[in-house]
Symmetry: none
DNA sequence: GACTTACTGCGACAATTTGGCGCATTTTTG
DNA sequence: CAAAAATGCGCCAAATTGTCGCAGTAAGTC
């Protein structure tokens, strides 16, 4: 469709923060976005990213949700605070609805499940909210997926406290721990 | 924590639209929400719902995403147009992230994957504004219970055809058979 | 600082559950 | 009626869960 690179070239501010704790993936994504014209700053941790946002709030951000030292949502909030016009997308391998909702409510413009390539990301960053045709698949989620999302939801509500979550769900902490350690079921 | 019914009783406007094309489920949900104090209007199609919204825009809405004659998102938009302060939640058994994002951006306050009970819905409707802050952790269904209900739902939808249900849920027929043979988990 | 309390990650193991066969019977359907 | 689909069920290996225990740690108290 529209030429992404051309659109980027016309931006008044092309600064972009890329936050992901997976270094190789981050550099690869960062480079790809740089090639498309963004001025990329990379970060591998929430702490670093928040500092970066405070110092020089970028116009755009691509944020991983789950990081070693925190949650990408914190960065969304910090960025919205520092610069309300900033546009950011969440990027995560643990896509689930509860967090997608949380991310969008926090101010993210989109939420992409990995793997997403640089074009997807760029498009999401630029798309002026021209949210298109959500005419999605008519396949129900798998039973395990439903269970997983429910767990994620409660986990969020419990402030990421595993013991508390396990108690509320009346399941064993060890089991919950194992489930959380794994990635989302299809 | 806070008593949901009490909170509802204090609302200046308790009108609520329930939109779902599954009649039994809709009436059940509608009744449950009525019991909690809402003034419920039910609707089974997008056309009807949009008309209802135009005539008497409700303060709240619970909308199914997938309907025979359209998309719940249309109703969200219509409602936001008619009454920007309205709060609505999307409810769907076929949750996917793209539509969740779309729904929230369209103005829904939350997006719940079915099965969601009346309490979940009420909580979502009332939950303090934009800030989905770490609120009262809830007293929720067990993870297995949620999975079980989802399975039951799809099973119904497949006309009690085990093989078909297993296929749609992409789970093993043998396993599904065993699950169905047992009674509901707590 | 010393103490107490709660959370967490993780190894180990037995008890269950599941994933996948196959197969003899119904039920459906063309 | 014959082919196709669905069902119920036994069996067994593989994977998951239920429990215990323990050490490390962050937080609150005296």
């Amino acid at each position: 469709m529209c030429d992404v690179a051309a659109a980027i070239a016309e931006l008044p501010d092309r600064t972009l923060l890329v936050l992901d704790d997976d270094a190789p993936l981050r550099t690869r994504l960062g480079r790809a976005l740089e090639q498309r014209g963004f001025e990329v700053v990379q970060s591998g941790s929430v702490g670093e990213a928040v500092r970066a946002v405070r110092d020089h709030a970028p116009a755009f951000a691509v944020l991983d949700l789950r990081l070693d030292d925190g949650n990408g949502l914190q960065v969304v909030e910090a960025l919205q605070m520092a610069r309300p016009d900033a546009r950011c997308v969440m990027l995560t391998g643990y896509g689930n609805i509860a967090t997608a909702v949380a991310a969008v409510k926090a101010g993210a413009v989109d939420y992409l499940p990995k793997p997403a390539n640089a074009d997807d990301v760029a498009r999401a960053l630029l798309s002026a909210g021209a949210e298109a045709k959500t005419q999605p698949p008519e396949n129900p989620m798998s039973a395990d997926r439903v269970r997983w999302e429910h767990i994620q939801r409660i986990y969020e509500l419990c402030g990421h406290n595993i013991s508390e979550t396990a108690r509320r769900l009346s399941m064993h902490r060890r089991t919950l721990q194992r489930i959380l350690a794994k990635r989302a079921p299809r």
